[in-house]
């Protein structure tokens, strides 16, 4: 299959997570959007949706945000799934490709959740091995996203930020820093979100951060009555997460930023409004930064 030219680099502007119900509107109206991000798994067995995405790609830069590579799995990524993703990457030429610091595959079964890793030397070796294999198969670098967590493993020995920073150092991958996940994980573990973000800022080099995510979450209670925040991507970004985002921009500079809203999907206009809010942060940063140019993540190969 002849590879299409890349859809173009993803700009350091606010993009929108594109979901199937909005395909028709995007194709018919060509609304203002700096770039789109999709879950490639939604297009691997749906020829019709993939044909539509190829049309979208002709007009907008595209990012593929996978949820099924399972970089933390001892079993490694599913060879068939990795091959399907590689085919999509060749076909769509996305500006960015990413997945999560988590696992979903075990014993030949896929569990549709981003399950937590212990941060141990063994897990570090497994993740580095899998990320290297994924990058070799795709023929390009990828970004790995910090997860949202409900639990910690007692035998974790490496702080999360340093764990992912080490993965990036050893493999050359970049980091997708999800502000909502920083917040949700911190609150679920009883920690201060700002301190949690500062740990990421201290651990990562500027050129390792290739993308930022912004999303909403749900506040629930466990059966035993504990507060629990669920990263459900089903609501606007909350004020505390906007504040973390501003702090991240102040430290990392302008980074491609995505509005992630997957459940209880709102109108496209609402997503544009959220993206516009992120863009105002980016524009203010640009105005304040003058001619300073941040080092960018060395995408591709």
């Amino acid at each position: 299959m002849t590879a299409l030219p890349t859809s173009g680099p993803v700009p350091a502007r606010a993009g929108i997570g594109l979901r199937l119900p909005h395909h028709a509107l995007v194709l018919e109206e060509r609304p203002a959007a700096a770039w789109f991000e999709v879950h490639p798994e939604n297009y691997m067995a749906d020829d019709d949706a993939l044909a539509q995405l190829e049309q979208v790609r002709e007009h907008y830069p595209l990012s593929l945000h996978a949820v099924g590579l399972s970089p933390g799995s001892v079993d490694g990524p599913s060879p068939a799934h990795l091959a399907r993703l590689a085919q999509l990457v060749r076909r769509l030429g996305p500006g960015l490709v990413s997945d999560h610091l988590s696992w979903s595959q075990a014993g030949g079964r896929h569990l549709p959740d981003l399950l937590p890793l212990p941060y141990t030397e063994e897990a570090l070796a497994v993740v580095c091995r899998n990320v290297a294999r994924i990058q070799d198969t795709l023929g390009r670098t990828m970004l790995v996203e910090n997860p949202s967590t409900y639990l910690e493993w007692s035998h974790s020995a490496i702080p999360e930020a340093q764990f992912l920073a080490e993965v990036a150092h050893r493999t050359g991958c970049g980091v997708l820093l999800d502000m909502n996940n920083v917040y949700v994980s911190a609150r679920n573990q009883g920690r201060a979100p700002v301190a949690a973000l500062d740990a990421w800022i201290a651990a990562l080099r500027l050129d390792q951060v290739g993308e930022l995510h912004l999303a909403g979450h749900a506040l629930t209670h466990t059966p035993s009555g504990e507060e629990l925040r669920i990263d459900d991507h089903g609501s606007p970004v909350c004020d505390d997460v906007w504040a973390l985002y501003q702090r991240a921009l102040d430290c990392f500079g302008a980074v491609p930023t995505l509005i992630e809203w997957d459940t209880r999907l709102p109108s496209f206009a609402t997503l544009q409004q959220e993206a516009a809010c992120a863009q105002r942060h980016l524009d203010a940063l640009a105005a304040a930064s003058g001619s300073w140019t941040r080092p960018v993540f060395a995408n591709g190969r």
Binding site: L69, G107, L111, T120, Q189
Partner: protein
């Protein structure tokens, strides 16, 4: 923290389970049905949220995700039995048949047979046939309209010579379902929430034939006379036209039979007829 500090810290920490064991046991715990099976060894999990609650949250995500995927493929079944009952069936099936691959479009083959034997559906004798129809809809909906796809083996249709230069071809995505219940009509009535019509159709067992194919705007359905369906199945299997017609006519008078062949096959949306203009 440098590598040496990490190693010291790692030594100081409890050694904990190997990663493979942790992942295997957590996966099993998320799919287990009993309280003992749903837990992990004491001390494995720390943090503010109690271990059982954290696992409960992950379990809800996993089983909810699989139930949602099945609901997307079987919307009429969902309407038929209601959300709560559908979730019970879906979760029960998912626990025994978790997916092997990450993309969930295409997860659910075999659910129809599971549903047929699920306790509580005895009063719905058409449920298995309806579920099989829904699975066909699901596969066809994910195809492109201009050709079949890797979702099914390429069934490029050989041309059927009709004489006089006329050539007949059927859509590559065409499928024929012969059922004891009018499941295509039932599906439509369920999705339209037309309860009286559902009730009437549910009491109409017999021989019902449906042709399904992927049209430009979505999945198309056409009801067929059983004789036309027999003929179509024979033609798709490569039978010569004269033999297919002879084998499928049954007790029908020839004129009536040819009328329904013309209406159900030659003039159907899944048929392309090419050749010299009359």
């Amino acid at each position: 923290m440098d590598a040496e500090s990490r190693r010291s810290s790692a030594t100081a920490k409890a050694t904990g389970p190997a990663l493979g064991e942790l992942q295997a046991r957590m996966a099993a715990a998320l799919l287990a049905t009993d309280a003992a099976g749903q837990s992990l060894p004491a001390g494995w999990i720390s943090g503010r949220v109690p271990a059982a609650d954290a696992l409960h949250a992950h379990r809800n995500t996993v089983l909810g995700g699989l139930s949602h995927a099945l609901r997307q493929s079987y919307p009429a079944i969902d309407r038929l039995v209601g959300e709560a009952f559908f979730d019970r069936m879906a979760v029960a099936w998912a626990r025994t048949q978790p997916p092997a691959e990450p993309q969930l479009a295409g997860y659910g083959a075999g659910f129809a047979e599971f549903v047929a034997g699920f306790p509580g559906v005895e009063a719905l004798p058409f449920i298995a046939e309806l579920a099989r129809l829904e699975w066909q809809f699901d596969e066809l909906a994910r195809m492109r309209p201009d050709r079949g796809s890797a979702l099914q083996a390429d069934r490029s249709q050989d041309a059927i010579e009709l004489g006089g230069g006329l050539v007949l071809r059927f859509a590559a995505t065409l499928r024929v379902l012969v059922t004891r219940h009018p499941v295509a009509a039932l599906r439509e009535a369920l999705l339209q929430e037309d309860a009286p019509r559902v009730g009437t159709l549910a009491q109409s067992p017999g021989v019902h034939a449906q042709a399904l194919w992927r049209g430009p705007a979505g999945v198309c359905v056409r009801l067929l006379h059983p004789a036309a369906a027999r003929c179509l199945v024979l033609l798709q299997a490569g039978e010569a036209l004269p033999l297919a017609l002879e084998a499928s006519r049954g007790e029908l008078a020839e004129a009536a039979f040819m009328d329904l062949i013309r209406a159900d096959l030659l003039e159907a949306g899944f048929t392309t007829l090419t050749g010299p203009a009359p």
